[in-house]
């Protein structure tokens, strides 16, 4: 199918984009990489009157190393982030997640900010950003505000971005040396996840777990953190057996998605399996980074 007609604007500054959004209100929709929005236009699931294209705004793209934090411009392409030596070294979990996003031709156009703002429950970047406690910088007519990722994601395809606002940047604190992993089950690599798990782990000097983080995605409208699991690991020497016990603390009641293709029962089965694998991999990588 072909998209319904719309008007198109390609501003060259953030200010220009905000003015257009202000002028057109709820008739307008922002387009970033377009890898989700254009299919929605083609299927007429979205019928905006006006498209405001962010692709011509250079200040929205790029990755900045600010010492303790890394600032990722919302229009940074997924392929660019995947190829970035800085991100591979400092925020490797993002690369592990992005490797599961689509395919080279979609990652070449798709953006980090677009993926996070689209808030698809099966998407990888929101889970990664939650695992990193990222902060989202939103620009609007009356200035900018910064929102914690946990408050940013509200539900399926729903974020706290208000009408007239755009996501300009994602800010992530660089963690101390740690191991991270992203594990996903999908029918075919690059397809939507049936469930995914993101894990981070830091070891102390005697090799025990000093701190950890576990996020499970694609099982509920927003990615879920399971601190009970990671609390049970903290201070302990990690073994397969310990991980098995720890993932049994995942509160499966928080899993919500149930559909004919992937039942809730199956998600509740594979969620802990993926979590255990991700935590094990993060533990092994933490050991490599320490030695």
């Amino acid at each position: 199918m072909k998209p319904a007609p719309f008007d198109y604007h390609a501003p060259e500054t953030i200010q220009g984009a905000l003015e257009l959004l202000d002028r057109h209100g709820s008739d307008a929709r922002v387009i970033a990489g377009g890898q989700s929005l254009v299919p929605m236009l083609a299927l007429r699931l979205a019928r905006p009157e006006v498209l405001v294209d962010l692709n011509r705004i250079p200040e929205l793209a790029g990755i900045r190393d600010c010492g303790g934090t890394i600032r990722i411009g919302a229009m940074t392409r997924q392929a660019h982030a995947l190829a970035s030596p800085l991100l591979r070294d400092r925020l490797p979990l993002l690369g592990y997640g992005l490797y599961n996003v689509g395919h080279p031709p979609t990652r070449a156009r798709g953006t980090i900010g677009g993926s996070v703002s689209h808030a698809d429950p099966a998407a990888e970047t929101p889970a990664v950003m939650l695992a990193y406690d990222a902060r989202m910088v939103l620009a609007g007519k009356s200035g900018t505000r910064t929102v914690d990722v946990a408050d940013f994601m509200l539900g399926t395809f729903e974020t706290c971005i208000e009408e007239g606002e755009i996501l300009t940047e994602i800010v992530v604190d660089v963690p101390p040396a740690e191991g991270t992993a992203f594990v996903e089950l999908s029918r075919r690599k690059g397809d939507f996840a049936m469930a995914s798990a993101a894990a981070r782990m830091r070891l102390n000097e005697d090799g025990a777990c000093a701190s950890a983080r576990l996020v499970i995605g694609a099982v509920a409208p927003v990615p879920l953190r399971f601190d009970a699991v990671t609390d049970a690991l903290t201070g302990q020497v990690v073994t397969e057996g310990l991980l098995r016990e720890a993932v049994s603390l995942i509160d499966l009641e928080r899993f919500e998605f149930d559909n004919p293709d992937i039942s809730l029962a199956y998600r509740r089965h594979i969620g802990p399996v993926l979590a255990r694998r991700a935590l094990m991999q993060a533990f092994e990588r933490a050991g490599e980074r320490r030695s």
Binding site: L41, A42, G102
Partner: protein, 162 residues
């Protein structure tokens, strides 16, 4: 709806286009420029038949609006083929039964062309990753893999012999 005038480069030639914003780049290439080598299958980004190279990167022609290609350098399957005869990739596809119905072939040829021009000696995993977004509805992937491997092997020989 307002029409937009564009200037872009397609297969090395400057072209001017007048497009409606909702027109996809793949439709503009096929309908307005007559470059029908770029195939349209699903028209919503799943099948990869419309894959072209935009500013040096492979991209879905159906997921870019033509109006977004203002100033871009676009290469289609016609642009990676010699004026007569077959390119080494096309020749290998023919020799190794990588064609079958041929519908996915333009997208496959384009992504393999991009892979080989950015990575002179790809592994099997690299090849699989490069074609991972391309659907072959004949499920002829083994022939396509064999063709890609053959091109890589031939290159290795050429490098060794020179």
């Amino acid at each position: 709806m307002k029409m937009h005038d564009l200037e872009l480069s397609v297969n090395g030639q400057s072209v001017s286009l007048r497009v409606e914003p909702r027109q996809t780049l793949a439709d503009a290439l096929r309908g307005t420029l007559g470059l029908t080598g770029t195939h349209l299958g699903c028209e919503h980004g799943v099948c990869g038949a419309c894959t072209i190279i935009v500013d040096g990167e492979p991209a879905r022609g159906c997921l870019m609006l033509a109006v977004q290609a203002q100033g871009a350098e676009v290469i289609t399957v016609e642009g990676v083929s010699p004026p007569t005869g077959l390119s080494p990739i096309q020749q290998a596809m023919r020799e190794h039964h990588g064609l079958q119905c041929g519908f996915c072939t333009p997208g496959m040829v384009v992504v393999l062309h991009h892979l080989l021009s950015t990575n002179p000696d790809p592994t099997d995993d690299d090849i699989r990753e490069a074609i991972s977004g391309q659907l072959c509805r004949c499920t002829g992937y083994q022939g396509i893999m064999a063709a890609a491997r053959a091109v890589v092997a031939r290159r290795r020989h050429e490098i060794r012999d020179n």
